[in-house]
Amino acid sequence: MERRIVIKQIMIMAAGMALLPSCLREEGQASIALQNMPISLVEEKVLAEITETLIPATDSPGAKALNLHLFVLKMVDDCYTKAEQDEFKKGLGKVDELSQALFSQRFSDLPRNQRENLLTDIQEQRHDSPSIAAFYKIMKAETIKGYLNSKYVMTKLVIWELVPGRYNGYYPVKTT
């Protein structure tokens, strides 16, 4: 990867982190302040790996670099009910348990293809766990929302215009 792009991405990461100060957090706690759903640093890291498995770094940043796991936590903490938060937290823990049971390894330690297979199985509901299913549904929806609404995507990949200055109701497009 070009040095310039790396630096840019680090700056974007740094900007994201600046919004979410971690210096005052107790050790072992999540790196952002959460009001309603306490999450440990370990849980946060598992969530980071799960979101990165969904949206991996390629020639553009993935979920972790864009702090999408922190966005997911922020949204669940602020916009979901207590019952949904409980299920989310429980489901998150169970993903790691499931990984240990199936592969004797934590989710974070699995190779990429095994992570993807595990998430596919969860998505296809091959594991009979309502809390894992609830966690996955919220996590995937918020990760995708966070990705498509991230500064990186909105300014570099799928451009969102603040000032379009035009309207064409007969804009020619290719038909497939």
């Binding site: 949204m75 602020d78 038909t175």
Partner: protein, 584 residues
């Protein structure tokens, strides 16, 4: 504002200070409210050289400077625009409003800040700040025709309007030129043409629907929505400091270009430049003062929103533009020996015959054609407008009056989110244009009735003003009209070959239309109405109501343009009356 502290050393100086205080508090005109109609009153009076005090109950909001979110990207909002659960739980009423989102919630009254009593469920959506709801409105602007003004008389409801189209037509032209209204001259008697800037054109699917309707029906017209956006600003708009609309469609945040009309961007700064305007925010009007000897109103009593200090201001003429229901509240609370039921309320009808617009049905469908076209940029007008086609020339259905309809089409970018990993990422970024999705919503006329009313409750707010009690509900006419809208639009969509036609009649409470009107209606007869043909209280001629409170009936058009025209017309009348020595 100058705060005059009274320090009585002796009686003489006390008296002098009181005289000075009265002078400092005396104006030619007091305008209560700075929203869309209050802003117009301010402009008209100051332009004509009258010393004008505008009282606004909320905080100051200055154009551009006080639009904190206006240039934010979606990722700059903590929840990307969504409301947190805590905000939703605290604000069940205002959360139901489409505009109550992270980017504009600071311009809307929170439920707990200003409670009211719901004798029947009513979502009262308010914007308490300088500019009021003119910052937030949907900017749709259509003229009324005589089919509307003659409606109550022909169909035997409410009372006859004391004015006709010819009385207001020149004033429509007057306000359109200044505000800047984009639209086409469509040549429809039911929706008169005006002084328009170029219209925002219909898109491919809307235009296709227009052609089908023209072929299949005699009187169902799909036109470009007429809206208060500067599609091609003229000198008078540049003079206001406004510029061309930039198609951002982020209007609810306040527009840094002044691309749409608001009091903040247009009438208030215009009035301020005359040097005749005093704009007083944080001024809650408790009541209007009436002098029995003089037989007229002399001023207003105001409670400071922040300090609760009570002050009185005096003027020759008072314009009440507090927003329809708050105008009712202030007048009902202005009780005196002469008017024990509220100022001008000799017949006891004040607060009654309140009506609104029925927005409780919409319909959506897919159109599989015209896939060689999509849209580029954004349309600030929103799309198309279908003027009322039911019961226009004569009564032809089992319900009275009718509905206008919004009509808009767009193609959404579908992003396949089923995969995981690199495939998911690529699919999300790629996206695929879906078919045209065509939608419509109804805007139905409701019939004003004595049983739909507001009055004062026994509870008071933090400023000592009674809470408003609201008892307004839909009726059988509304239900029949809603059914007809669904069946007619279903038929029209079918004629156009649309598929997956999906009506949605989830009922919303009255009020969520944000078109509440009436309670202080205009009419010929002091026995059955509160205001005359010049918007003066029949029984107190130096008090005028030119906001939604004055409306005798609602028609189907969005009401704001009519409030603007009525205000400019009434202000012109008041100035002429003053110069002839009347009103004083």
């Amino acid at each position: 504002m100058v705060i005059i502290q009274l320090k009585p050393h002796n009686l003489t100086s006390m008296a002098n200070i009181n005289i000075d205080a009265a002078k400092a508090s005396t104006y030619d005109v007091i305008v209560i409210g700075s929203g869309i109609s209050g802003g117009w009153a301010a402009k008209e009076f100051t332009e004509k050289g009258l010393k004008t005090l505008v009282l606004e109950r909320g905080r100051d909001v200055q154009h551009i400077k006080d639009y904190p979110t206006t240039n934010k990207y979606p990722f700059e909002f903590e929840h990307r625009g969504e409301l947190s659960l805590a905000v939703k739980t605290e604000n069940p009423i205002v959360s139901r409003c489409y505009a109550f989102k992270e980017d504009a919630m600071h311009f809307m009254v929170k439920d707990k800040e200003h409670p009211y009593v719901q004798e029947k469920p009513f979502d009262w959506i308010r914007g308490y700040q300088v500019g009021g709801k003119s910052l937030l409105w949907a900017r749709q602007t259509q003229r009324w025709s005589d089919f509307d003004f003659e409606g109550p008389q022909r169909d035997e409801f409410a009372v006859d309007w004391p004015i006709r189209y010819k009385d207001i037509a020149p004033w429509y032209s007057y306000v359109e030129k200044f505000a800047g209204i984009s639209g086409n001259n469509d040549g429809l008697p039911e929706l008169p043409d005006g002084e328009f800037l170029p219209a925002y054109p219909l898109n491919a699917a809307e235009d296709y629907f227009r052609k089908v309707m023209k072929d299949k029906y005699r009187n169902r017209h799909v036109i470009s929505a007429r809206c208060a956006h500067l599609s091609k600003p003229q000198q008078v708009h540049f003079d206001q400091g406004r510029a061309k609309c930039q198609n951002r469609t982020l209007c609810q945040r306040g527009c840094p270009f002044g691309g749409y009309f608001s009091s903040n961007a247009s009438t208030l700064p215009w009035a301020a430049r005359t040097g005749k305007l005093t704009l007083q925010p944080d001024a809650v009007v408790e009541s209007i003062l009436y002098d029995h000897q003089k037989g007229k109103a002399t001023g207003v009593r105001v409670v400071n929103r922040l300090t609760k200090e009570v002050r009185e201001y005096f003027a020759k003429v008072i314009f009440v533009n507090a927003g329809a229901l708050n105008t009712n509240l202030i007048l009902l609370n202005s009780r005196s020996e002469r008017f024990p039921q509220g100022l001008g309320n000799d017949n006891g009808l004040m607060g009654k015959y309140v009506a609104f617009h029925n927005y409780s049905a919409r319909i959506t469908a897919e159109y599989d054609g015209l896939k060689q076209f999509a849209t580029d940029g954004r349309n600030p007008a929103g799309g198309g407008y279908i003027p009322r086609f039911r019961n226009v020339l004569q009564q032809e259905t089992n319900f009275k009056r009718g509905y206008a309809a919004g009509l808009y089409a767009s193609r959404y970018m579908y992003r396949d989110d089923s995969a995981i990993g690199t495939t998911l990422k690529n699919n999300l970024l790629k996206g695929e244009l879906g078919p045209w999705i065509v939608s419509s919503h109804m805007m139905g006329e409701t019939i004003p009735k004595e049983s739909n009313y507001v009055n004062l409750s026994s509870r008071k707010d933090d400023w000592g003003v009674p809470l408003l009690n609201i008892a307004i509900e839909y009726d059988q006419n509304d239900a029949l009209m809603k059914q007809d809208y669904i069946s007619q639009l279903t038929e029209m969509f079918s004629e156009a070959g649309f598929k997956k036609i999906t009506p949605n009649t989830n009922s919303q409470n009255p009020g969520l239309d944000i078109h509440e009107m009436g309670g202080v209606r205009m009419g010929h007869d002091p026995q059955t109405s509160l205001l005359n043909q010049w918007n003066q209280l029949h029984a107190c001629k130096n008090v005028f109501v030119t906001d939604g409170g004055c409306m005798t009936s609602t028609s189907t058009q969005n009401p704001s343009l009519t409030y603007m025209a009525l205000t400019a017309r009434a202000a012109d009348y008041a100035v002429k009356a003053l110069s002839k020595g009347e009103l004083t």
